[in-house]
């Protein structure tokens, strides 16, 4: 190819980028390609921790998000729920966000009742739901769940819930996980529960929120699921370990298809621009 043509790759009309990106994402949305993944350094510890808990140990999941951030965080909640059900770990859902009850309902109808018809509310999972107070709530329940929660969302008192018979405070849970879309969220759990209460803690967060949580790994949180990719990695670990007990391709893995091709397109354009730049430099170096 002659130099001039290659040089034009350095400054292509950005509308070509737009067009190619739109086409590629559009096609990926229809075709839903699946890219195999594996649990990485940040996600693996959460999976392994949950996988090693003795059956019957309750885990606490705090659904600190709302419908607008659900596309990124709900797949994490679903994957954790499936894992806990397979392992026979009772789950306790709470939330620092007013929208949390609604998010728990979506999990109950979408995952729990759908895929695990034998599981019973109260015994295999409980929804304590939202309580006002934000970080103060997290702080208050470290020693005693009963300090702020009297009953679950259906009104059943805590001492009548079989799932929580072994639980007084947060230290009695095998793991506490905050799926966090903002404030209050994972940061508050780290400061008030993980650091101050010495409770094993893990988290999930959105792509935009992720950079602020990396410093806490691995000393203050044992793992972190960041954005859709984190959820997809957890799903990958789950289907590798229990291929027969979970759906073949889950939510996040499906959503990663368009993501992966879009990232690839962006990376290729950057490489192309730099390649053309280097080529031009090399050529002008030779002629000079």
């Amino acid at each position: 190819m002659d130099a001039e043509k290659l040089g034009s790759l350095e400054r292509i009309d950005r509308r070509w980028i737009f067009l190619i990106l739109a086409l590629v994402v559009g096609i990926a949305v229809i075709v839903e390609p699946v890219f195999p993944d594996r649990a990485g350094e940040l996600v693996r510890p959460i999976f392994d921790h949950l996988d090693a808990l003795p059956a019957g140990t309750p885990v606490l999941i705090s659904l600190d998000y709302s419908p607008s951030s659900a596309p990124e965080l709900e797949p994490m909640a679903a994957a954790l729920t499936r894992h806990a059900m397979i392992r026979g770990l009772p789950i306790c859902f709470i939330s620092l966000w007013p929208t949390g009850n609604n998010m728990a309902e979506r999990l109950e109808s979408g995952v729990l009742r759908e895929e695990y018809p034998a599981a019973e509310v109260g015994k295999d999972w409980v929804v304590l739901g939202y309580q006002a107070g934000g970080e103060l709530l997290a702080h208050a329940v470290v020693d005693s769940l009963g300090a702020r929660f009297r009953s679950d969302v259906r009104g059943v008192p805590l001492n009548e819930l079989p799932a929580l018979t072994t639980v007084t405070g947060l230290r009695d849970f095998g793991l506490v996980i905050s799926l966090s879309a903002g404030v209050p969220g994972l940061k508050e759990w780290i400061l008030y529960v993980g650091d101050a209460g010495h409770v094993p803690l893990a988290g999930g967060c959105t792509g935009v929120g992720a950079p602020q949580f990396f410093p806490y790994y691995p000393r203050q949180i044992l793992g972190l699921m960041a954005a859709l990719k984190g959820a997809a990695e957890y799903e990958a670990a789950l289907s590798a370990r229990y291929p027969d007990s979970v759906p073949a391709t889950m939510q996040a893995t499906r959503g990663m298809g368009p993501q992966a091709v879009a990232h690839l397109v962006i990376v290729l354009f950057i490489v192309m621009g730099n390649g053309a730049l280097l080529w031009r430099r090399w050529r002008s170096g030779r002629t000079a």
């Binding site: 950005r14 970080e135 400061l191 008030y192 935009v208």
Partner: protein, 261 residues
């Protein structure tokens, strides 16, 4: 609380002291800010090509210090535009900011004796909705083709939407924001970017006013204080972790004074 009080008093005292010293004639040597230095040439080139200058003072209301910093840069930009006869378009998304921006432009134009050239309609209120606002600004950029775009103040995801709009028409773009999340987008898409605290220093730097520049010296002294506190604290904690008990005791006292969370 005590440490907060001490820090506040100390910082304010340092800044005021520097302002007073500079007023009495102490010379200050302030680092030149490249984005600020390129603002006037950008206005000149707009004048040469007969295109307007666009200014956006962020997308927050007057309760954000970043908006105030953006407006203090508007003072200077408006003066420069008035002197050179450039057409200045200010697009805002808050009514209070609109009022304040008009007032400032009026004063700036009057201060260079061009008060009659100013028309309040050049400051246009669009919509409180940041995205509705951006939709209009991008439209205005595409149609009016400004030669220079200035984005100074708080921006959320609007940053890249604005900067790419301006790039499309080939405007010289100079931006500034203190919001750390949005800086990467401005740095990538604009010609020059005031990063973080530079936004607050830019107005002083552009005005060249001795007292204002003096305040920047005080700010630096405050920063040295921060650095000392940071290094001292780290040293104490590290020594105590290595088993030197006295360091631990000093740190316990000191950390008790620092606010939690």
């Amino acid at each position: 609380m005590i440490l907060l009080l001490i820090t506040t008093v100390l910082l304010v005292a340092l800044i005021v002291r520097s302002i007073l010293l500079t007023r009495r004639g102490r010379l200050v040597n302030v680092r030149p800010l490249t984005p600020v230095e390129e603002m006037i040439p950008a206005i000149d080139s707009s004048v040469a090509s007969g295109s307007p200058v666009l200014f956006v003072p962020g997308t927050r209301d007057l309760d954000s210090m970043q908006t105030v910093a953006g407006l203090s840069l508007l003072d200077q930009v408006a003066r420069a535009c008035a002197e050179r006869g450039a057409e200045l378009l200010v697009l805002v998304n808050r009514s209070l900011v609109m009022d304040e921006a008009r007032e400032r432009c009026r004063i700036a134009y009057a201060s260079v004796g061009r008060g009659d050239d100013w028309n309040d309609d050049n400051v246009d209120y669009i919509s409180d909705d940041p995205l509705g606002f951006v939709a209009r600004v991008d439209g205005v950029i595409a149609r009016r083709r400004p030669g220079a775009c200035f984005f100074f103040g708080f921006f959320a995801s609007e940053s890249l939407l604005l900067a790419e709009g301006g790039h499309q028409v080939g405007a010289i773009q100079i931006a500034g924001t203190a919001s750390a999340v949005q800086l990467p987008f401005f740095v990538a898409a604009c010609d020059r970017t005031l990063m973080g605290e530079e936004l607050f220093a830019a107005g002083a730097s552009l005005s060249g006013d001795a007292a204002l520049l003096g305040s920047l010296v005080g700010q630096d002294q405050g920063k040295w204080l921060v650095l000392i506190l940071l290094l001292l604290g780290t040293a104490l904690v590290t020594l105590s972790a290595l088993g030197w008990a006295p360091a631990g005791e000093v740190w316990t006292v000191l950390s008790g004074l620092l606010p939690e969370g």
